[in-house]
Amino acid sequence: MPDFDADRKFKQDVLRMAGAEVQTCIQCGTCSASCPTAHLMNPSIRKLIKYCLEGRKEEALKNDTIWLCTSCLLCTVRCPRGIRPKAVVAALKDIAEREGIKSKDAAYELIFQKQIREHGRISELPLTGEFLFVFPQAAVQSMQMGLEMAPRGKISLEIEKIKPEGREEVKRIIEELGGK
């Protein structure tokens, strides 16, 4: 038995976060046609928006589409209805991360956000290191890039931190404005 209440709430959540104008989507596919990673997406970004409007939560969340978005914003500048498909993707990521739907991509974003929350800034080395615990398959690429960067003095061994008052403020921003 489908959970109609949950589906309705899901649609409302997406509209609240990505903008009510998402409802005006005419399914023209300009977003999909503009997307640099469209060929790898299934469902396409157009279809993803349809799923959201139909409240099909499972289908909208359990795929790689939202994680293949590069945030290039071509869809967003081209949509003839003034919808921001990238904001729909962001809303779905937010829901997926909040509900603990596990994927390597969500893990990467959460590690990134944790670094901001704890230090105020990103340091490449601990970011990569922590991600490798979740997704060891990225080790080859990471080693390769490490070997490229280290001799050029571009890998810092220090953890970048802002001042303690600043860190408190950043933590407040993330926690009180609805972060994870």
């Binding site: 945030s71 690429q141 571009k154 404005l177």
Partner: protein
């Protein structure tokens, strides 16, 4: 001209040459930079909650009354987007409620735009004209999207700058195509596919150098170039410079000041060519 400077996290690691060359070129052009007090990460493309992303950027923008300059297109796009979001009184009230210094408005500029403005008035500073140098203008995404300094579809500001340095901008079909950078860690293949298309196209179009305005584009096209060549069995061998590095060469600044030794594909043979052409 005095501006607040927002270096961004990358400037402390993989984009050190972006920061070095930004500071060196600004000094040479008489642009005084005051680094933003205790700046934090803008959230890059990894903070999915829009209100949080706005809050993180607003904290940075509230640190100064000066216009803010950055060399990173991701920071640039995020700060501008946040400034736009903060025009909504409800968003502004919610964000200001958690900020220590309150946000009251900001003006955000990309280094490219600032440099071009100053250069146009000070042509005498160009001591090393980049005669005949074929430059691929690579905009990537976030300099012009969602809204920025130029058209998101057909930007021309980089070409304008390149011509100003007396170099030749090539007709570069993929100039606004995404480099794939934001997903390179978890989605390696997708990211590498798009980056390689750009490199391959630049090669076909006869570029001697690719110029970028974003540290992630730079990373994908420069740091990854060798690995991509090996994987695809296709030689590229094109240096990729930050726009500030290219301008610095034309201003006669030295390789160390511009961090040219930090690039993966060495731009030195290209720099030598520039000097040879100047001597001809």
């Amino acid at each position: 001209m005095k501006l607040a400077y927002y270096p961004g996290c990358v400037s402390l690691s993989t984009g050190k040459e972006m920061d070095l060359s930004t500071r060196a070129v600004s000094a040479a052009l008489g642009i005084e930079l005051e680094e933003l007090e205790d700046w934090n990460c803008c959230g890059a493309t990894h903070v999915s909650n829009e209100l949080v992303a706005t809050g993180l950027c607003a904290r940075n923008m509230a640190q100064t009354d000066l216009p803010i300059m950055t060399s990173c297109s991701i920071c640039y796009s995020n700060l501008r987007t946040a400034a736009k979001q903060m025009e909504d009184p409800d968003v502004k009230a919610r964000v200001n409620a958690v900020l220590t210094k309150k946000y009251s408005g900001a003006s955000i500029r990309h280094a490219l735009d600032v440099i071009l403005e100053v250069l146009e008035k000070n042509q005498d500073l160009l001591v090393v004209p980049l005669k005949e140098l074929k430059v691929a203008p690579y905009y990537g995404c976030l300099l012009t999207r969602p809204r920025g300094v130029d058209s998101p579809e057909f930007p021309t500001i980089l070409e304008k700058l390149i011509k100003n340095l007396q170099a030749e901008p090539i007709d570069f079909r993929l100039k606004t195509f995404c480099c794939g950078g934001p997903i390179f860690m978890p989605q390696q293949k997708a990211a590498e596919d798009t980056a390689f298309k750009i490199l391959s196209e630049a090669k076909k179009a006869g570029a001697e150098v690719i110029v970028t305005v974003c540290p992630l584009c730079h990373f994908m096209l420069d740091a990854k170039q060798k690995a991509l060549e090996q994987k695809r069995d296709e030689k590229i061998g094109i240096p990729v410079l930050y726009v500030t590095q290219l301008v610095g060469i034309a201003l006669g600044l030295g390789p160390e000041e511009l961090g040219l030794n930090m690039n993966s594909v060495s731009p030195m043979p290209m720099v030598e060519k520039v000097y040879e052409r100047m001597a001809e």
